[in-house]
């Protein structure tokens, strides 16, 4: 088959060209599907003749302006949640009954009750105990969201810490490092690497769940949509705009997260 050997480079090129063409074709069809669905949805809404273009142009900037508050609340809440989750995870991994008990109680209570109920209790009910517990809306919202996500993330952190190979701790022990130093210098940095993608995911769902704090008057995206849409009887436009803002935010942060993960993977691992 001497001929076949000579043919090879040409054959490879042919195969590569075919594969590249099929990839391009896939991407084109993919984009087309999205465009068609969006156009169909838009046409359907427009056909009802209920969409008010003036309302959209007038109020879109106002609703979009809530994105800043949405992101601010989400960032503060995820920061609080991360701190609580770290403490919670240390408790859940403790051999001592008290920290283990406290952390388990926290996780059980938070996971067993609706987020909306937690928001209401923190914002509306605590002031009944003492006027000192009256919180500004943003503080109350951040507290509730952070407290709630902290419990879910406690389990993520616990799993992340446990995922650091046992040999790491043993090697550090063999070097004479005390346990607290081993945790801080050896286990925690590796655990953080392991859980970073999960924190990113939680941040993205936090952006969506933060809509719930509109109920206590935090003037974020959904609150503004309600404020603009309800009195003018344009809730259809208002809530569609709000939905698109959340969608846009999650797309942006998913992209950021993807880049971040790639950078970490490329790093020194």
């Amino acid at each position: 088959m001497i001929e076949a050997v000579g043919m090879r480079p040409a054959l490879f090129e042919q195969i590569e060209r075919a594969e590249a063409a099929s990839r391009r074709w896939f991407r084109a069809k993919f984009a087309l599907v999205w465009v068609v669905i969006m156009a169909a949805l838009f046409a359907a809404f427009a056909a009802t003749d209920n969409l008010d273009a003036d309302f959209v142009t007038e109020w879109s900037p106002y609703i979009l302006g809530g994105a800043g508050i949405t992101v601010l609340v989400s960032v503060l809440s995820i920061a609080l949640a991360t701190v609580l989750a770290l403490i919670g995870a240390i408790g859940r991994l403790s051999r001592r009954a008290v920290p283990y008990g406290v952390a388990s109680f926290y996780v059980s209570l938070v996971r067993g009750t609706p987020l909306l109920v937690q928001i209401y209790i923190i914002f509306f009910s605590l002031p009944q105990i003492s006027p000192l517990l009256i919180l500004p809306a943003i503080a109350g919202g951040v507290l509730a969201l952070g407290f709630n996500y902290g419990a879910y993330m406690t389990e993520i952190f616990r799993a992340g810490i446990q995922a650091v190979p046992r040999g790491q701790t043993e090697a550090a022990r063999a070097l004479g490092m005390p346990e607290n130093l081993i945790f801080r210098r050896i286990v925690l940095p590796q655990a953080i690497r392991i859980v970073t993608p999960a924190i990113g995911n939680d941040f993205i769902s936090m952006i969506k769940d933060s809509a719930l704090v509109s109920t206590i008057g935090v003037q974020e995206v959904l609150w503004r949509a309600e404020n603009a849409g309800r009195p003018t009887l344009h809730t259809l436009e208002a809530f569609i705009i709000a939905g698109l803002v959340y969608w846009g935010l999650t797309i942006v942060f998913s992209f950021v997260q993807e880049r971040l993960e790639k950078r970490m993977a490329r790093g020194d691992r």
């Binding site: 790491q168 022990r173 063999a174 070097l175 490092m177």
Partner: protein, 280 residues
Amino acid sequence: MTGPMEPASHISHPVTAAHLGPPMVRAEGIEKYFGRNHVLRGMDLEVQTREAVMLIGRSGSGKTTFLRCVNFLEEPSAGSIEIDGVRVVADPLHARSREHLEQIRQIRIRSGMVFQEFNLFPHMSVLQNLIEAPTKILKVPRAEAVERAEAYLGKVGLAEKRDEYPARLSGGQKQRVAIARALCMEPKVLLFDEPTSALDPELIGEVLHVMEDLAHEGATMIVVTHELHFAREAADRVIFLEEGRIIEEGPPEKMLDNPDDDRTRGFLRRFLTSPKASAS
């Protein structure tokens, strides 16, 4: 006391009476149970300064468990360990008490361990791996720790890998870094737990070569190994274990060529005909 890395003025090989001061390592009556499984049944071992002792035996004979008892990575069920004058009595009932852990730490600071799986810290560069414990535990000034780290890296032939991360090293290079990391604490005794068992065959030689140099320079070491050829070259004493007991011990030539005990002979015969079967 002389550290293991003090340049040797002479080959230390035979342990003569002149060397016999107090032993550097003394394990007495070490027992270990895992649940009801009696793994170590009264191990006594003394290792002299500058002596290289190799533990051989089938998997499951207790040699790795014994080594891990020496620096209390496993708490012995009974017995005591003394390294460089620091003696710790096994206390399985209070294994996590503050005083006991602090005593154990004194033992660990005086011993260096090299693991089968290397266990380098992946989030630290080679240099950071080497200076972490000296700066944090021994409070060696950073500049001095770096200098020391570079010297030991050079010694294991990896000076140029100083700023690499472990993920970018081959298995043999990782293990040599792990040896350098142990040396940076300037321990009184080095413990090797099957240091070549996780390596590809073509990488074993570079690690054994480093260990052989250490032995010939007079490092005090206890090595669990399946590399009998290496034991012959580098050991001062070979110890054969079975069922958690020392069956027989002696100089390598005697132990490997002409042991007295039938069980040692049986092990060597099986090992030499199918080394893989025993090494697994």
